[in-house]
Assembly symmetry: D2
Homo-oligomer: 341 residues x 4
């Protein structure tokens, strides 16, 4: 870092890029210097909102600018690897939007490039910075739920359809990153069934199941075809249960003191416990702001991001296998962690 403030360059001014610009602006300790995009119209719109930001259609201007410390890659998935590799080669720290890459091989190549360059690599798994998600992580960590048995997720809404990848690659990174963060383990198998309705070869509905070594399973309904937007995750523990409903304005997390105490045929009804329900206060800070601050701190302090390259690879591994299951009629696909030297 050349100065007191992290100087940031952003490649990609599409849907998500301006959000990053705004959040780096608002975060203390950073400044957005320049934005690159192939589309001059997008750059114009961005410039209107942020007149102080330099814009260019050539991303190499950013890489070659010695004043820029960090690059954010907010471009189509297939370009993540080459752009990240270029940025590391130029000595920059790199933030890559989720998913890290479209294949495990590409994702691992980016991790390798970061390691060689000795620079920070962080993946934009925004949800692991979401205050409700970290609240649930704390609840699990303190053992309040007991052993987690299963997670069920509803992540559906009407649109926005993508043309180059399916709903699994669009919404799946959220579930994979959240569940891996919550459980702190990686699935040893995945299964995925789905269907293509609006476009002939792009799944707009999938049901994803992940099985974990602990015996836990996580299931997600991911869809672009739904009457209402749902972002609900239910976590069943053997002591308590929790619901994280991102659509609720004031009670995003609820902990239910409900469970099965000791199953008895004689007194089946007494086997169940329905106790109090508690909704801890969840801070209202925007997750993206927390994510951006975390990146700034990691670069400044040389610490490893919560959503580092390894975390990014793990998510891509789940998605790649799930996509394989999808094409194989939902057959169970084993996930084997490659041997590390």
């Amino acid at each position: 870092m050349t100065g007191a403030e992290l100087k940031v360059g952003i490649i990609g001014a599409g849907y998500w890029g301006p959000n990053l610009v705004r959040n780096f602006y608002e975060a203390p300790g950073a400044d957005v210097v320049a934005v690159a995009d192939l589309d001059p119209e997008r750059l114009g719109a961005l410039h209107k909102r942020f007149p102080a930001v330099r814009t260019t259609t050539d991303h190499r201007e950013l890489l070659n600018d010695p004043k820029i410390d960090a690059i954010c890659v907010v471009t189509p998935i297939s370009t993540h690897r080459p752009l990240a590799e270029e940025a590391f080669a130029a000595g920059k720290h790199v933030f890559v939007e989720k998913p890290l890459a479209g294949t495990v091989a590409d994702a691992e190549a980016i991790v390798a490039a970061a390691r060689s360059a000795g620079r920070v690599l962080m993946v934009g798994h925004t949800f692991v910075y979401n205050p409700a998600v970290t609240t649930v992580r704390g609840i699990i960590e303190r053992g309040e739920l007991g052993k987690v048995q299963y997670v069920d997720s509803q992540r559906v809404n009407l649109g926005l359809h993508q043309f180059d990848f399916n709903v699994l690659w669009d919404l799946g990174p959220h579930d994979a990153s959240i569940v891996l963060y919550w459980l702190q383990e990686q699935p040893d198998w995945v299964q995925c069934v789905g269907a293509c309705y609006v476009q002939s070869d792009i799944e707009d509905v999938v049901f994803l199941t992940m099985g974990f070594p602990s015996g836990a399973i996580a299931h997600a309904h991911l869809s672009w075809l739904a009457p209402s937007k749902l972002r609900t995750m239910t976590v069943i523990g053997d002591k308590k249960m929790a619901v994280y409903d991102d659509g609720h304005s004031s009670e995003k997390v609820k902990i239910y003191d409900h469970g099965v105490d000791k199953l008895s045929a004689d007194e089946l009804r007494r086997s169940y416990r329905s106790g109090d329900i508690h909704s801890p206060r969840v801070p209202v800070t925007e997750a993206l702001q927390l994510e951006v601050r975390h990146f700034i701190e990691c670069v400044r302090d040389g610490t490893t991001p919560r959503s580092d390259g390894e975390a990014g690879v793990r998510v891509v591994r789940v998605l790649e296998a799930a996509n394989r299951s999808l094409k194989a009629q939902g057959a169970r696909i084993a996930l084997t962690e490659p041997v590390r030297s």
Copy 2:
């Protein structure tokens, strides 16, 4: 039918039996004459509530009573076939609780017995008599939703665990019977994954997927481990979408004029239509009362019940295959309708 009123005998006075007694009592055109159960304590409790009903521990008393026109079999699943066969042999009309049997072979044997005896066989798929379910059927039938693309169901609650069968056989008959009734077609494949948490070999959570010849899929989350009771089914059509939420007191059915009109990359956001939401009035009559009246009418008029034996067999066929999938790690199981002579 020996007189103006249908005389009914009920075998089984467990959890569900008294509900049937009460509903036959309240229905015009029928009278409950006697109830049989092996457990005298249950019979005592029932007699206290319904002092006019004769009780016995020997179900053959009911079969041998010439005044009894119809028998309801409300006993554990494994006894459905022998009891139904006995009842048909005695010339009775028979109502069997859902699921019709524990195997397709048994279910088909019951159907064959009904056919030989020339008597009415009806299966207790209560939900196909539920006013909200029939309202949705009407909406689909009139083409309001367009072509049905997929159905997603959440059917979860805390308990009641069963000891002799899993949550698939407990809650699955509802989803199978509703979806087959709505779509008026039978799945050509099923898949089912799940897990056993509270009991070592009884699944308390399963995710069931059915694939239909039309291309529709139906998915259900069935669980005895959940913080709140949910009974929600979402139907996605290519014109409109509908939600049936049995837990809502006043808006059980909602029709959303939402959809994807014509996907266009240029104006992706304009591709989606979010129109009005309509909640038709749903009569509040108890489904079981409507079911019981339907049975009385079918016997009286010699008509075929909506949930006849064939419908019962179709549901068992789905469950049997789903259970096979469950034991085969969720592998896709093809359903082939046996050739009829």
Copy 3:
């Protein structure tokens, strides 16, 4: 009490009477001996449901029956006083449905009759036995909410219109009895505005305000004209806030750790505290069952009912004054407790 069991006679077999019969039946320690009503048709319907109960069109049969210990008066309001006085004169304990009477004078006469006879008088203010209401009382009593500042109540639904009294006398007894029980004080003034829409001289909508010596106020919207049934009461304390929503199936009571800490112009936003939300488990027992058991215990043990005659008078005093305010364009009416000798 002549024997081990309280023998109960019930006068009035209209809408509410059969509920009392059923609940005395289910309660341990009591037996319903006879029911009187002027309408033989109602008696016939009741007899069909409860064949062991004697019925008569002459309530004096009940009063003259020495085996009957207690009389329930479940008749139109104007008959409460004469029937209760007759029952006390016959040496019976008396349960009177709410409101105790249509005037303070009549209500006080009933209390005087009870005192002279040395018998128990209990008023059917069912809600003060409702588990959610007593849960809130406990929360207030333990000081969790701090000083109660105000209560707002929504008690509205579509119908049932009455022909001989207005919505204030129909729904108001609930709010008055609950609030007086929660606050353990009596209002020193009331105000009431309303309007008559469906019938020309029967208010179907009123807004009732009660002011208390402590400075607390309680406000209630009572209506027979509403799109949905609401039974919601919000209690604002200077430490915490509580909501009692009788229409919620699983979270009837919620305590909000919200409040104004210390108002500061400099940091207005920091003056507010929005903390955790807690929903204590509320037992699901029917309030009427708890009320009936309470009556049985009070008679057996000679204790004073929670909703004794004095409580009944206090509620009538509020309603009578509120009705006066209603006729006086909502003018504030002072409530002065009469001097007791």
Copy 4:
């Protein structure tokens, strides 16, 4: 208007001012030229967000600038009159934030100044531009609800307390402006009761009732002390009922085909109709944007704003009378429209 675009100057850069700046920016046909505020710090913050806007601590710079066509007064209520009068004297069109003034006399003086100057005066009653509010107005106008009987409003939240005026003047303008717009009539009486809890002489809770010549009444619960933010208005018509819930994300307006058909003692239950519920699609455009565009159009076309000065006076008349009722223990205050020459 001196050019193609309306040149706007804004006086007041507090909480609401920047929202106006942003909305005039986004609206076609207008440009924000300058902002005045006494506080240089606020001006600095605003300048950072909108670098192209000139700022000044002297509002007369704006009035003296011949290029500025219109002035927005977004300052404390007591300054509305002098600033508006100055602006009209300088020949500007004027937009005044709600409420128009703190007294009817001041409000009428502003209207008179506008009339003398022959310039447009518009009051910032944002809610009458809210798409859900105009949807309900359309429903009433088309007679769908029949004759409106009463309106009940819940407008409560935790904070933000004001130090110089009470909750009536803070939240009351919304209810008054909406109800007068919906009913298209003015109340002939108001009543208001309330209490001061957090500050000794500033009411933080009031219950406001307005009575209309048609017989309709409108009631509002306004509070800064509530566990949850509520913005719900229920409109009871003699044909149908409507609910406008501003806190609902997708069903802001619902029309209930519920009502009392013809009250009959014989068949009381059949007197009520509970039919379908319909939720019309409500556009998601921000109300403030629509309001700003309306102002631009009115200036451009010389038309009268929906929330013109007269509408502003009517709202102040309600508030002034309600405040008088509040100080007079809720006594009914008659509203008499002054004679116009």
